[in-house]
Symmetry: D2
Subunit: 350 residues, 4 copies
């Protein structure tokens, strides 16, 4: 941590800061410039709370030197984290595609979609049983019944299930069905939930909050990792900006920058990050071109009846086209999309 | 809801949209302009999910007409909501001041601060026992022990207690001590928590999320109100922008705009919204000048030792000066700060 | 400037950085922490371009220590700058109010408004002859004819004129009429214009760009000050955020923070910063409560016919009410609104 | 334009709005809902200023129906605009790459870079002679001497020149050298400059302002198009958000969305939009994968000495690698990078 003094700081003020630094078990290291003095507070690598120094007389600013995350950092663990989730392996050369409806709405809808996305080449099925909705008057998800339908869809197709968890109470139920538990953007800093998920030792897909910095996303991952739960997938899903032509702004920069900061796999959700089905395929291509380890895509067999986020869902045939295009991009960057699951026998489908 | 068709929409597409509108139990009303056709979908005032229409061929955009919140709206309930919380009455002419440390840190700290802010004119004591911190390595609050100290502080000073609730599990504990439960910015869209708080029938201070729109804040209030829990206080606490000179950007516009949109009381947290104690008093004055019904201020007896957010805390003597200045502003806008609590006997203090 | 090395930087890389620092005429000062090395580059206070160091192998980040502005800084010139503009004195205890229509539209409109705002207590008349409009199809201002009408309004009322300059070509014309030349938000970083204005030695009202940081605003002021043109007034006019309920977000924090960073006067434009006349008075009060040295307010005698920005203009009678309220706030913060100009004789008015 | 009345608007207020609509030569069309009345104002497609209606009593909001840009719109001119600039053809299937240093710094630097980027496959040379710099103390470009060096570089390599114009005064000079005149982000709404450039009938590369919406970018293009200057290239260069880990946030969504809104070519500047050379190639790939018609890349032979933006410049060999990677992506999306210029004879190079 560097403590930058005001240009008119007195010697007395500088001494007081030095003393406080030392009282915190840190070494103080002075640089006297023409205009200002800077005091380096050098420790043993453990995080120090900068707020303790901000109040001191004569202090202008505090600049942290160490990154606040450790376990999530590339420096802590240089190679890419790769881990299997059911049959699907995430974080390596093979790009993984998760697809399905925003919400589980009916038995027919989820089973039909599961078969359709499986056939198009998806490796996992997404679908929300518990839905965080801005309005209390919007459909809030099928809850426990939705989870049962997801279990049935897994049974029918063999696809691992990615589904959202909104609170600790739902954990026992969701754990029975989810192969990956999703933490939504609105809960990225719900620390009680992060602690619970960390303890569960279950794989997690952690979405970036809508105005979270990359560092904050990594700090939220750190909460989970600090419980020694290593299977955390980070997901860029668009951030909030002044632009109104799109639902969110896809922070494509986050893909390569996060990959450089952390060893964890990074995937992109182009459906939420642009919010309009017409452009989802273009953004999915961009994500893989930028280095994403996977994609999570909204697919709905009948958008006209979708109870949530219909406007950003792809029909199954468009999703199949997206997979085809993404395969070409993956190859262009020296990777490949993970192989599609083997075809089911006719008996299994019907 | 107005459905704006693309300029090249065909008659067939327009008819399809009209049919879908009618199939949703709404009346369709066409305006054919030179360039585009607009279809009004007219209902009985119940919210309609616009996503159902966004996918239809030929549709360009959907414009909602009704506001998505009802119970929170000024139109639903024109007069200002005024409600008592313990001795303190909030939402009327009298401006209420809540003050205290970011976190409860020790018996001495909280009792001493409680007396100091009471004496300076505060009407309630704030202090966090459960603290949402960006880093898992930062102090997370004293938890249950902190709640016990808050109870003691109330006992000693008579000040009602405002304290944060981070999850449903903490609800029974927090309910025993809190006169007002605070929902922090990071949990503004933690809908499980909002439902639980709504059911509790307990007063709530709901902070705006760091990138939430005013409409989203009101929708989160609507979650609580929909449980017929009427005692919701809204709190502006700064939003996230590109500016780096301050911790957040105080959205001072939100004060008069929220007051026009809703009947609920609106208060300002100048400590978090600017993040530097030197400027807290100026922003507190601005908030009251703009029409805020109250303030929530961080005060710490000894900033040098504050375990969280020290840099934005005022010392008690500066807080007293803030109250003096705010009183003058309140009078300048034809209001007044609620009267200070009567002095305690010496016996009570020691 | 502090150069923060990566945690895995080699000794060779550190030596190379030190050599480059020295080759730039700076002293290098090493702090070796457990995780990282930080190299202070200490100079004589002249700005150094940090880009020269960013590319070097092993460098993680550069942290500037000195502020990039000098002449504008409070440290360079501690007392408040106060300067007279025609009769009006700006930057001292007395708060100055500039008012008038967005655009000059007709002789009657501008003369009538000038008399109305003068009578209500304004100290200067604003009005645009050259208008930056988002659309080439919108009214672009009356140009030279508009300037002539402004000159006439000054003649009739004695009010100094504040009017916008959009390009260097307009400078000779605008100089003949303007007492203060306004640089609009869209031109805050039009450096050719800033150089020209600097050279003119004429007073300037410099508006903050819609997504400019405070530091960038001060750097733009520095362009003007570097021509030894000292009469620069800074103006907060709202910044662009994700919020859509208001035209812009008034950055009220900028008032006290700018006042601490610079000796230049800081005023607020509540009309643009909230964009809705209903709320302009509340935000004007907030600005003065936060420490603004003045206000610039849109007033239009007949909003129904306003050719630009009608929705945020006040009618003269509402403006008079604003002045009354602002006077009370000014007194509450120990200042006062500058005295109104003496009444004109009836002969002068007609 | 739809005029949405407040829920408590009176019949009288509704009638007044209708009368005003008609007085503006528009037809009024009423939709009475349960809660609110909406008045459609239907015209002949010419833009109408909505501000005239915002002030009227009882009006809640105005929703524009027509897009404010015409000549730039895809609806006005459905096929992609393709136009030749010197040898280079832009806007069609072939992707164009513009490369070179941020600033022209010396004869050797620009000639050497020109040869290097030509050999690596670039189709045009960028280089600034006039540089908009945040600080008046930073290098402001070589000016006229820099233009002469650019002319020499074109002579030597045959590469068309893209160079920035900061003000109308520079136009005659820049026209002599530039094949494409660049309007920088800070000047996107410098309307005097846009008018001058429109009149010049010269090709333009128009960069998006750092907080401009896509619609505003198109409105600025409209300024140029309204002078019947058709050769406008739009450039996404990153927008300003709260994220601090990168210089800007690349708005990758803007690529496909702009392509759907306009017929004009859309290119990406990955160097400015992420601001760190390490990630430029990843973002360049993403841009082409998302549908960009070209790229503009910063290349500097010796970053250590770069006088501006060194940290985001690629060395020539890394740029050559970028071109190779982008070629693969172009093919993966069914396009190709425009062919490299034929090799120069050795005589020509030396």
């Amino acid at each position: 941590m560097m403590i930058i003094m005001r240009s008119n700081a007195t010697d007395k003020q500088i001494e007081d800061v030095v003393r406080t630094v030392q009282a915190n078990g840190l070494r103080a290291h002075l640089s006297r410039g023409i205009e200002r003095t800077v005091i380096g507070a050098i420790g043993d690598g453990r995080p120090v709370d900068k707020d303790q120094f901000m109040y001191l007389s004569g202090v202008d600013r505090i600049v942290p030197i160490s990154r606040p995350f450790k376990l999530a950092s590339r420096e802590f663990s240089p190679p890419d984290s790769v881990f299997p989730i059911d049959g699907m392996k995430i974080g390596g050369d093979k790009i993984v595609i998760i697809a399905g409806p925003c919400s589980v709405e009916s038995r027919q809808q989820i089973i039909e979609t599961a078969h359709a996305v499986r056939e198009a080449g998806a490796h996992a099925l997404r679908g929300g049983a518990f839905k965080p909705r801005t309005s209390p008057y919007s459909f809030q998800g099928m809850g426990e019944d939705g989870l049962a339908l997801l279990a049935e869809a897994r049974q029918a197709t063999g696809l691992p299930i990615v589904t959202e968890l909104m609170s600790q109470e739902q954990l026992p139920l969701v754990l029975q069905v989810a192969d990956v538990m999703q933490v939504g953007a609105r809960n990225m800093q719900n620390y009680s939930l992060l602690h619970a998920i960390g303890s569960s030792q279950h794989p997690v897909l952690l979405k970036r909050g809508m105005s979270a910095t990359m560092e904050e996303l990594l700090m939220s991952a750190e909460y989970i990792l600090s419980h020694d739960n290593q299977r955390v997938i980070l997901c860029e899903r668009g951030i909030r900006t002044f632009e109104t032509a799109t639902r969110n702004t896809t922070d494509i920069n986050a893909i390569p920058v996060l990959k450089s900061l952390t060893h964890l796999p990074v995937i992109l959700d182009p459906s939420h990050s642009i919010g309009n089905w017409e452009f989802v395929t273009a953004i999915a291509r961009a994500g893989v071109a930028a280095g994403a380890d996977g994609l999570i895509i909204e697919v709905h067999p009948n958008q006209a009846e979708a109870l949530s986020d219909g406007g950003q869902s792809l029909k199954p045939e468009r999703f199949a086209e997206l997979v085809t295009q993404v395969r070409l991009i993956a190859e262009a960057v020296g990777r490949s999309v993970a192989p599609a699951l083997p075809q089911l026998s006719q008996a299994a489908i019907s």
